[in-house]
């Protein structure tokens, strides 16, 4: 960094310092070791201020490192900033909602997963794929095996080749993955004004705020505030970074009819579909927490036993007394 400076840069700085410190020129800058002041810090300070080259180097180094840090990270620590845009424009932070599965020992509410699957199928699946979930994954989670088989058979999948070498269509099986609404990304973008509806398999893990964020996004649509310009085909949502989202509000009261009679309000549907998507992102969730409970209990017990055994074994060593008996003088 210093090597890239023009040769005269340091000389100029030194000349500037000498010009402004002209009155202080009489102070002797050279001190010998035997005459150095008693305080080492003041002598170090005087060493820095005494040599113009050292002063210039230190200044360039500190200014350069601060500039380098600011360039790397954008902001400086411990220094307040004023922004012209509000936090809302980077997406509001969602509040924390009391999910039925948010506790350390809480499983998913599987009735909610079942309702959420219904919302996904009837509403979200029109645009969003769910690539990583197969029909078989629903068995024993939200549906019985007969129900899932019936649902899978309603979808046609391409299979093959047969013995003529041709591909053919067949009804879905349990091992098939959820059908995608569009054959490829380009088709998805073309149908949605250039915006790609993201795959929802891992969306809860893939967004800051997770389930809280997606719930807030789904229920957070409102009119833009005065003065907020929004392009055609975009929608205002304070929770979305940038506040302009291509997806319009889709959940309205009474949009689906739940088979268990739960009133299908907007927030109920959002809660159910987010629970379903959270399950899709973490299908191992229930078993993981159960195994975690077992592991904590067992490892805590083993840890306590190991502490006891260590103290037991060391008690002899810790409590021993070493006595030195000097050899008696031989006559």
């Amino acid at each position: 960094m210093l090597a890239r400076l023009p040769a005269g840069a340091l000389k100029n700085v030194a000349a500037l310092r000498s010009a402004s410190f002209n009155g202080a020129r009489n102070i002797p800058r050279v001190r010998f070791a035997s005459t150095s002041s008693s305080s080492s810090s003041s002598s170090a300070f005087e060493f820095l201020t005494g040599s113009r080259a050292a002063l210039a180097t230190a200044t360039v180094l500190s200014v350069g490192s601060v500039a380098w840090y600011a360039n790397l990270y954008g902001t400086l620590p411990f220094i307040g900033e004023v922004h012209a845009n509000s936090p809302a424009e980077e997406g509001l932070h969602p509040p924390h909602y009391p999910w039925s599965h948010s506790g350390w020992l809480d499983t998913f509410d599987h009735a909610s997963i079942r309702r959420g699957y219904q919302v996904y199928r009837e509403v979200c699946a029109a645009c969003h794929s769910l690539d990583r979930i197969a029909w078989r994954n629903l068995v024993g989670v939200s549906h019985t095996v007969d129900e899932v088989k019936a649902m899978a058979e309603e979808v046609e999948y391409e299979d093959g080749p047969n013995d003529q070498g041709e591909m053919f269509m067949r009804p879905g099986k349990l091992s098939d993955y959820m059908p995608a609404p569009y054959p490829n990304e380009e088709a998805a973008r073309a149908s949605n004004g250039g915006a790609l509806p993201p795959d929802l398999s891992l969306i809860v893990k893939a967004r800051h705020g997770g389930a809280d964020y997606i719930f807030s996004l789904l229920t957070g649509y409102r009119d833009p505030p005065a003065g907020f310009e929004i392009r055609d085909g975009m929608n205002y949502n304070p929770y979305f970074p940038g506040n302009a989202i291509s997806m319009a509000r889709v959940l309205f009261d009474g949009l689906v009819e739940y088979e268990d009679g739960t009133p299908a309000t907007t927030s109920q549907m959002a809660k159910d579909v987010v629970t379903f998507l959270n399950w899709a992102a973490e299908p191992e969730h229930d078993e993981r927490k159960k195994n975690g409970l077992k592991a904590v209990i067992l490892f805590t017990t083993l840890w306590a036993i190991s502490i006891y055994v260590k103290r037991f074994k060391w008690s002899v060593i810790k409590s021993r007394k070493i006595v030195y008996t000097p050899p008696a003088d031989k006559p």
Binding site: L105, D106, A111, K294
Partner: protein, 61 residues
Amino acid sequence: MSLANTVYNAIVKRNSVFVPTIFVGAFAFSIGFDVGITKFWDTWNKGKQWKDIRDKYVEQA
């Protein structure tokens, strides 16, 4: 002390008894621990798991 002696004489003294005791004890403990945890788990999460709502959807064959 007498309890320790009894345990020692009954179990630890012969290796042919000691090793099977450890194996059987580990087996019994793992099953008992698992049953206990599962019981607590199902009480804590009552009504939320699939096995709690399964009856509503399974067709009577």
